[in-house]
């Protein structure tokens, strides 16, 4: 089954490529400069729609939307979400259901075949770049004026750098990003706090403290490998390389960006070749060498890591807010009932008390270019602005209908109604906010104000966020958009380079390669076109800077 899948994936890629080429040649010849006269596409749109206005189409309209179907709350036509949405906005959404397992593939296919719905949500920043050259996706930045709520957030919230990063070579952006008011980081490590108490250890603040702590645990439990990690599939050390790397100014794993921005030299440099990256690897290597970090951390499945934790063979593991509540505590309650575990504020390192600024962007919405020619185009943009960016729309998508799914007290604090449950917040509730009502749906509910984001957080998680919010937000690297040819070339270089960095990172960390060979490693990267790749990035950066400031 899965073998075939790979073959198909390759086919999609090849298909897309040929299609992109066909499209781009078609477009370059037939491109006509449309005046931004939107009077013909205003059917259903509100004359005056601004911040604070409730959007309601002047006549009933409907839009197709690509829908990422989550198995935990399968799409249901009878959800209150759909009914209430139509009642409030006069808009009917017609979902094209795609299984979550292969959402990206189908999205690529539909866009490639010119058969995509107008609204294409659940697209992460960067993913849209592949479709830009084909002309199938609308340059949404041209139409921001139709979206007062988004415009306001772009102006008021400190996200300009992030949004600049979305710009393509033409200085426009093609994705309506989900935006968080403040950067937020969910991932850190979880520690068995009962062991800390027992050994009279403080909660570690830096990665050096973590080392000291692991040492002490190892001394008390010599047979254990105190830290055994998860989140290694499909990216080895996905979280660990990311959070440790961030502390050393060189995120790896999930956060690996190919090139890092060097503030001093004002140039991009290759991420896997920086000193910070080396220090990160040396730190992890030290943990492995001294038997503090399980070497299997980088290859085992999540389930294996959970088993080790549950069986008391390890005491520290990567975590987010959900995994504490949904995985570790239930697991441990069945095996070691008096165990306590908590997520600690993400440890810091030489880079100081920082959080990466990129965490302010969430997945967002692409608009099919065809939508621009629909007579309801303006109404659609106003509708999207209301649902995804207005405070009322966001609250609706997340919490539902006041009085039905939640209540609000004088201070503005929301509470689920007695019979509604989600995230285990109201265990007695018989109905589920996601499954039975269709709210708190990953397709529609994300980003927003910190208040709204944290409204579902437990007090413990809010405490965690408070610590993280006290940290300095790291500047976002400047935009360096490739043109179509460069992107193709870059992809050819990126993949082997990244694979090699991953592979050699593991060898260094696991002690299979000595750090005395670091220079040899750098030369091997050069042989894989590292220098040319970095030059390409810097060239694109210079060009963009010259053209768009």
């Amino acid at each position: 089954m899965f073998h075939r899948y790979r073959g198909r994936a390759a086919m999609v890629a090849a298909g897309l490529l040929s299609l992109t080429l066909a499209f781009s040649s078609a477009c370059s010849s037939g491109e006509e400069k449309k005046g931004e006269d939107l009077s013909a596409v205003r059917v259903g749109a509100m004359e005056k729609y601004g911040v604070g206005d409730q959007f309601k189409a002047t006549e009933a309209v409907s839009f197709d939307i690509l829908y990422n179907n989550h198995p935990n709350y399968p799409l249901n036509d009878s959800w209150l979400f759909w009914k209430e949405l139509t009642a409030r906005t006069n808009v009917t959404l017609k979902p094209v259901a795609v299984p979550l397992s292969d959402y990206e593939q189908k999205r690529g296919l539909l866009i490639g075949a010119g058969d995509a719905p107008f609204i294409i949500p659940k697209t992460y920043p960067g993913q849209e770049a592949a479709y830009v050259a084909s002309g199938a996706i609308l340059a949404v930045s041209d139409y921001i004026d139709l979206m007062p709520n988004l415009k306001e957030k772009l102006a008021k919230w400190d996200v300009q750098d992030n949004v600049n990063g979305l710009k393509q070579e033409d200085g426009k952006f093609y994705l309506l990003p989900g935006i968080h008011e403040k950067p937020w980081l969910d991932y850190s490590i979880a520690v068995r706090t009962d062991i800390l108490e027992q050994l009279k250890l403080p909660v570690p603040k830096t990665w050096d403290d973590v080392y000291t702590m692991l040492k002490a645990i190892k001394a008390a439990y010599p047979d254990s490998l105190p830290f055994s990690d998860r989140f290694s599939k499909p990216t080895p050390g996905g979280n660990l390389f990311n959070i440790v790397g961030t502390a050393f100014s060189a995120p790896g794993g999930w956060g690996y960006q190919h090139v890092n921005w060097n503030e001093k030299t004002q140039k991009f440099e290759f991420a896997g070749a920086t000193d910070g990256f080396k220090q990160m690897l040396q730190y992890l290597n030290k943990l492995v060498k001294e038997g503090l970090l399980d070497p299997e951390s980088f290859t085992q499945t999540d389930e294996q890591a959970r088993q080790k934790l549950a069986n008391g063979k390890s005491f520290v593991i990567s975590a987010n807010a959900q995994s504490i509540v949904n995985d570790y505590r239930p697991d441990l309650s069945k095996t070691i009932p008096n165990a306590k575990i908590a997520k600690i504020p993400t440890p810091t390192g030489p880079a100081g008390d920082i959080v990466p600024g990129t965490s302010q962007l969430e997945n967002g919405v692409m608009i099919s270019r065809k939508a621009r020619d629909s007579k309801n185009f303006v109404a659609m943009m106003q509708f999207i602005d209301w649902l995804f960016y207005s405070p009322k729309g966001m609250e609706f998508a997340k919490w539902g209908v006041e009085g039905v799914t939640y209540t609000k007290d004088g201070s503005g604090k929301r509470t689920l109604t007695a019979d509604v449950n989600v995230l285990g917040l109201n265990p007695k509730g018989t109905k589920h906010l996601q499954k039975d009502f269709g709210f708190y749906n990953g397709v529609f509910a994300y980003g927003g104000t910190s208040e709204l984001l944290q409204s579902f957080f437990s007090p413990e998680e809010q405490e965690f966020q408070k610590v993280m919010n006290g940290r300095k937000v790291l500047a976002v690297p400047p935009p360096r958009p490739f043109n179509a040819d460069e992107r193709e070339q870059a992809t050819l270089w990126e993949t082997p380079l990244k694979d090699y960095v991953t592979q050699q990172s593991l060898r260094f960390v696991l002690g299979q390669r000595d750090f005395s060979e670091w220079d040899a490693y750098l030369n091997e990267l050069k042989a894989k076109n590292m220098t040319q790749y970095v030059d390409l990035c810097n060239k694109a950066y210079d060009r963009f800077k010259k053209a768009h400031g």
Binding site: M1, R4, R8, M11, V12, A14, G15, L16, S18, L19, N69, H70, P71, N72, Y73, P74, L75, V96, A97, P99, L100, S101, D102, K106, L109, G112, A113, D115, D186, F231, K233, D302, E303, Q304, R306, A310, N311, N320, A321, Q322, S323, V325, N326, P330, D331, K334, T335, V422, L423, G424, H432, Q434, K435, Y440, N441, G442, A445, Y446, L453, F456
Partner: protein
């Protein structure tokens, strides 16, 4: 199993028969050991899944479940069977598989029969057309455009028609038909039977073995297939159960973003629910095997050896 029985056939009457050579006996032993190892390797994961589907979540988390269920319970079965969409998709799978297999058998048999006739003009071209598709394909997007253009999207035809003829199966069947003695057909023709009569009354009754094999090949591949349904279906109630299963596993293993995760109860059940769904999905097609296997051995051999 087959290999172990062979010596009896070779040496039916003790010393008088042909004695298997020493080398051959060693080969037999090695064969038996290797094949037993293969059996263990393939059977263990399946038994493990079955055991998990019947076990307590806690036992699975602590890694206690191997091939014997720990903390026996059938909660997960109840949970899965309660889900209407599971049964809707299951019914789809049965319908798609049945219709698709039927169409595939009819088309493959008739095509293969025609190709097996050496006196057919343009036979080489017809074989060429079929073989060409084994090596070249239009690519995914043209396929999609074609199917959509034909109006097959969101209908059963998108699933049952495009894959109706598997060229490999076609060639196996063609070889089988070529191995049938032409004298039989000539005799029937002399007695006044037309081509269809010959195919229906003479050839097909003699070809039960290969047809049973083809039914098995096709049915298994249609039962397991999810890709065409994923491509051409936009509605949940049209998906086969394989898509349901695939999504379930992906959803339960994805590193969660904030709203990806349902309530703890649902996540708790996930590992067992996955196993149950796998067991329920595999079971029917698994039960078909024993009944067709005997044809399977003789059928394919007959056709293939001839070539």
């Amino acid at each position: 199993m087959v290999a172990i029985q062979t010596p009896r056939i070779l040496a039916p009457k003790g010393k008088r028969g042909i004695q298997p050579s020493r080398g051959y006996r060693i080969f037999q032993v090695v064969n038996a050991i290797v094949l037993s190892a293969v059996v263990v390797v393939t059977l263990y994961p399946f038994l493990n899944i079955v055991a998990r589907s019947l076990s307590d979540e806690a036992a699975i988390i602590t890694g206690k479940v191997t091939i014997i269920p720990d903390g026996f319970n059938i909660t997960a079965y109840r949970l899965v069977m309660k889900d209407e969409m599971f049964w809707t998709n299951y019914r789809n799978t049965v319908v798609y598989t049945t219709v698709a297999t039927f169409i595939a058998i009819v088309l493959t048999t008739t095509y293969a029969y025609v190709l097996s006739k050496k006196h057919l003009k343009g036979r080489g071209l017809l074989v060429g057309i079929a073989v060409f598709t084994m090596f070249f394909s239009g690519g995914l997007i043209p396929h999609y455009l074609l199917i959509t253009g034909l109006g097959f999207k969101n209908t059963i035809w998108a699933i049952v028609l495009p894959n109706a003829i598997s060229v490999f199966n076609l060639l196996v069947m063609k070889a089988f038909f070529e191995s049938l003695p032409t004298e039989l057909e000539e005799a029937a023709a002399v007695d006044g039977m037309n081509t269809y009569g010959i195919l229906w009354k003479i050839v097909l009754p003699l070809s039960k073995a290969v047809i049973a094999t083809m039914v098995l090949f096709y049915a298994v591949s249609f039962w397991n297939s999810w890709f065409s349904a994923f491509l051409y279906m936009d509605k949940l109630d049209l998906f086969p159960v394989t898509v349901y299963l695939r999504n379930l596993i992906a959803g339960a293993t994805g590193a969660g973003s904030e709203s990806m995760i349902g309530d703890p109860d649902a996540v708790q059940a996930a590992i067992t629910v996955q196993s149950v769904t796998i067991v329920l999905t595999t079971l029917p097609i698994l039960m078909v095997y024993p009944f067709i296997q005997r044809y399977f051995v003789t059928g394919v051999m007959l056709g293939a050896v001839k070539g």
